[in-house]
Symmetry: C2
Subunit: 122 residues, 2 copies
DNA sequence: TTTTCCCGTTTACAGCTGTAATCGTTCTGA
DNA sequence: TCAGAACGATTACAGCTGTAAACGGGAAAA
């Protein structure tokens, strides 16, 4: 948990959050579908993540097994907080209000948020 | 509305969203407090924003007047959507749930969101 | 044993960012 | 009229990103 994780690196993290530990080749497989990256690219991203300490690797014979070193929840929480801080003065309500106004909320969403909020109140 | 606005550039946008049109010098003044940028830096950021078409400039004598070319609301909406897409599978509810779980919501927030949701339902 | 393959590591390279300094031109005050 | 001042434009430069290719060493296959 050192420097920020870039967009491409996030793809790698998602693969490792889905399943870990994985070898570089397995990560490449788990990710290639959508992005079409060469295995080299995946390896580069993995080592960058290792130096950023977002990913840990332990030797397994002559190869490495990679595992996330940051919980997805923590990452997601941090990023959400960043957004809220940067754009909504640190307040969550305006974010929700904003999404609501932009019709980004379906009726089901509204229903569900209401249930959620109701749960929080008790 | 072309390429993405970077973090530093966002500071400039915020100044222009607060008040516009402004000269480069005025932007620098309106922003310098927190960041401690040299006026040159502000000018560089302004021209980058102009080439990204996030800012418009019209000649006023031998200087330019700069104005935002993107509404803050649109920008904020786009960024929020990006976050929701990248980290919450495009669903808003998990975001709210997440913030709630992380205790990022005060009682007042909850109260207010509830009011907001209630408003949406009717 | 020799060739081939697989790994991780190193190097590459262009585009974006942060942060300016410098340049050329034009207005302005002396 | 002539030297600054003020502007925008051009150039700088290191660090981060996206996207690999090349390299070197060991393991596996022939």
């Amino acid at each position: 948990m050192d420097k920020r994780i870039s967009e491409a690196e996030l793809e790698i993290m998602e693969a490792l959050w889905r399943r870990a530990p994985l070898t570089a080749a397995e990560v490449a497989e788990s990710v290639d579908e959508d992005r079409g990256w060469s295995p080299q690219t995946v390896k580069t991203l993995l080592s960058r993540l290792v130096s950023k300490q977002a990913v840990a690797h332990q030797k397994d014979g002559r190869r490495f097994l990679y595992s996330p070193n940051v919980a997805r929840d923590d990452y997601v929480g941090g990023e959400s907080q960043r957004l809220v801080d940067r754009l909504f003065g640190g307040k969550v309500t305006p974010l929700v209000a904003h999404l609501a106004e932009r019709d980004a909320l379906s009726d089901d969403d509204i229903e569900e948020i209401e249930r959620l909020i109701r749960g929080l109140k008790s």
